[in-house]
Symmetry: C2
Subunit: 433 residues, 2 copies
């Protein structure tokens, strides 16, 4: 931990700062909730260039919290706790920290003000128990909590820092982003921040990508690369570089990756396929409609997860039942009967018809077997046909996806959005029949 006095005399060498995340809550140990706080804090620490060597999780038990904190303070510069700041008898984090660092708990009257307001706003009498939340270890700095009653705490202890945050992510995330990150940046000064670039790929198998980049995956030293399998058949390659002036190395590797997988790269870093496609539709002033069968509304729901999607998305027909395909989507009953609902001609009809009915520039249609039941020898579970129609083309492609029902739905949805992206970009791939 840098001594504040030396702040004006930074060393040439970049400092190595080690943080540790201690998640507190018996519900975590019972598997009742997923520890998304640890994921969030880890990402932010990595972005700040702070190393994280350990995560620990411990229940609402003073002795075990004390034991865990003591160990963490021996091996790390910064210890960040989440959870156990509430008003109930189970919330023992503050008292346990005070015990660990041998500080008395003192009453801080200003902490009662937001708590009182919180209850006034909700027109509920303030329970006596919440007053407990105004007692903090002597010498603590407090962090305002806009979405709850428990303040966060920052405590200096010997040359270390302890940061205590509430458990609900809706409270922890804004507190960490708005207060803790700026504080750490200011306090730590010139640390070697981690630069990353994530390259997002659809339409290629993990095995194929892995084989193509295996030399890069073995890189050691300041710049490294990892491969991550994401839900829905997506693969991400993440290039990480530590220290200043290393951008070139990231750019060099990125160029190699783009050369290898160009047409299958749909985006970078925080891009999502529904976001990338949406921006392109908006920029080109194009509208879209969707006809969904096996995805049951998932593609439309993903598109409408994006704020402002009403600029380009007009609507969909979820034609789950064959009668709906015939009566609402006007799929030719003869064609449907002859080929079956899961077939290339039906996918084409669905795409053409929804585009005409909804008067859009583009459309997507999907029909398939999501399983686990309903498959046959000639039409197995995972068989999916996807059509994309524009004013110029009608592309259809056959897929065979694996996994659970939800896996197959999500793989279909991402593949459909990726096909739309290809059509928008004019690659004209995927022509079938």
């Amino acid at each position: 931990m840098p001594d504040p006095k030396t702040k004006n005399h930074p060393k040439k060498d970049e400092k190595i700062i080690v943080a540790e995340i201690v998640s507190i809550g018996t519900e975590l140990l019972l598997g009742d909730i997923i520890n998304t706080n640890a994921v969030f804090i880890s990402q932010k620490l990595a972005a700040l260039g702070i190393n994280c060597y350990y995560h620990s999780t411990v229940g609402d038990n003073p002795e075990r919290i004390n034991h865990t904190l003591t160990k963490a303070l021996l091996r790390s510069d910064i210890v960040i706790t989440s959870g156990g700041l509430g008003p109930t008898v189970d919330d023992v984090t503050v008292a346990s920290i005070a015990e660990t660092i041998k500080r008395p708990l003192v009453f801080d009257s200003k902490l009662l003000i937001p708590i009182r307001k919180y209850f006034q706003k909700r027109k509920v009498p303030m329970p006596n128990s919440v007053k407990k939340q105004s007692y903090i270890p002597k010498g603590s700095m407090t962090i305002e909590n806009k979405f709850g009653t428990a303040a966060g705490l920052i405590m200096a202890y010997n040359s270390k820092l302890i940061i205590a945050l509430p458990g609900p992510p809706s409270e922890l995330v804004p507190m960490f982003t708005e207060k803790v990150m700026p504080y750490l940046k200011l306090k730590l000064g010139n640390i070697a921040s981690l630069k990353t670039r994530t390259i997002k790929i659809l339409g290629l198998s993990e095995g194929f990508i892995n084989e193509q980049v295996k030399t890069l995956l073995k890189l050691k030293g300041k710049t490294r690369m990892g491969i991550y399998i994401k839900p829905g058949g997506e693969v991400n390659l993440k290039i990480m570089s530590k220290g200043s002036g290393k951008d070139n190395q990231i750019n060099d590797i990125e160029r190699v990756i783009i050369k290898k997988f160009g047409p299958n790269i749909y985006g970078f870093d925080n891009d999502e396929i529904e976001h990338v496609v949406g921006n392109l539709l908006r920029n080109r002033k194009k509208t879209i409609a969707i006809a969904e069968s096996c995805t049951g509304g998932l593609i439309s729901s993903m598109i409408t997860d994006i704020n402002g999607s009403s600029d380009y998305f007009l609507g969909s027909v979820v034609a789950y039942n064959n009668n709906i395909k015939i009566n609402q989507l006007k799929v030719n009953a003869e064609i449907l009967k002859k080929n079956g609902a899961v077939s290339c001609p039906v996918a084409k009809e669905m795409a053409s018809n929804v585009k005409n009915m909804f008067k859009t520039d583009l459309s997507i249609a999907v029909t398939g077997i999501a399983g686990p039941t309903g498959g046959t020898k000639t039409k197995p579970v995972g068989l999916v046909f996807i059509s994309v129609a524009s004013n110029k083309t009608l592309c259809t492609k056959k897929f065979l996806f694996s996994g659970t029902r939800r896996d197959i739905k999500l793989k279909t949805a991402k593949a459909a959005l990726f096909m739309l992206l290809q059509v928008l970009k004019g690659y004209g791939l995927f022509k079938l029949s």
Copy 2:
């Protein structure tokens, strides 16, 4: 840990067994993946009646793995590791365990057979590096991995057990369920298993429920209760009881909860609202269609996540754009113009019309403002109207939801499915206008 020799002489007192989960992988410390393995294993340990006091996460670093395992073996009876069993240089778990428990690594030729098969099946030459996966600490039992090349390991060490499993959940979950759980049950014998009952509530606020059950939440001893906030405005109450013959206490508390919240309880334990509603529709031989605006297809997607939903779900219209509401759903243009798209009359029209068009017994319609933009003073973000139509009733209710765009979509979807449940059960609540 029970001595196998004493297995035929179980003590009257139930044993207390403590396990610890050690998750291994630098990607976890970087926040690149969510640790779902720890959640899964925790749930299974709780169900077996095995206590879990600590989770630890450590990177692919032999020294720190060794340090973590040594500590875990001091304080817990069973140490379960996940990750780091692969063939790459980063995979150091097996060597680190061998180092910690001072066992040599020995070659086990039978482990090469499934690895060779795995590559033959994929028609890819077997890389030399995978041979590393056939070296295991002397005296280990192996656990077959049907979905990957890394075998799991079980090692006895002094009176403790170490269980090492691969990181990918698609490999770990079946290995734990099919092999590790039966092994632990047999090995540990008469342990005090944890019985739980989860009661699932929709349509009531957390604050209200909390206030109503605060005495029960303070229960100490063998039977306790916890309150959990779930996404989409759902609250779960979980009653946990340790030891045999405690069913009565769970039943007693359950009765109190049912008396308090009866009409708002939609299900128990593993029930999901889309599952409960689906079963009821199937049993009553009723069909349903949906007209979605602000949820953009999410309700339909949730319904079709259930295998066999084609028995009752015929399809939907996602009418995102007002022209689609008028042209496809035949909403009266005058009514839409006069009241706006987000209004009670439009929700009613949407529900009636989709039911008639799709010729179903029931329908749901939702219209609202998912935000974050698009709100006005009179129609703020979060304002939603939900209609449910049957052959007998047309109920509409107004809601004001809070949160992000995705929160509002999910809250709307769950509230709509819950309203449908109420109509199916004939409670006839929610009559508005």
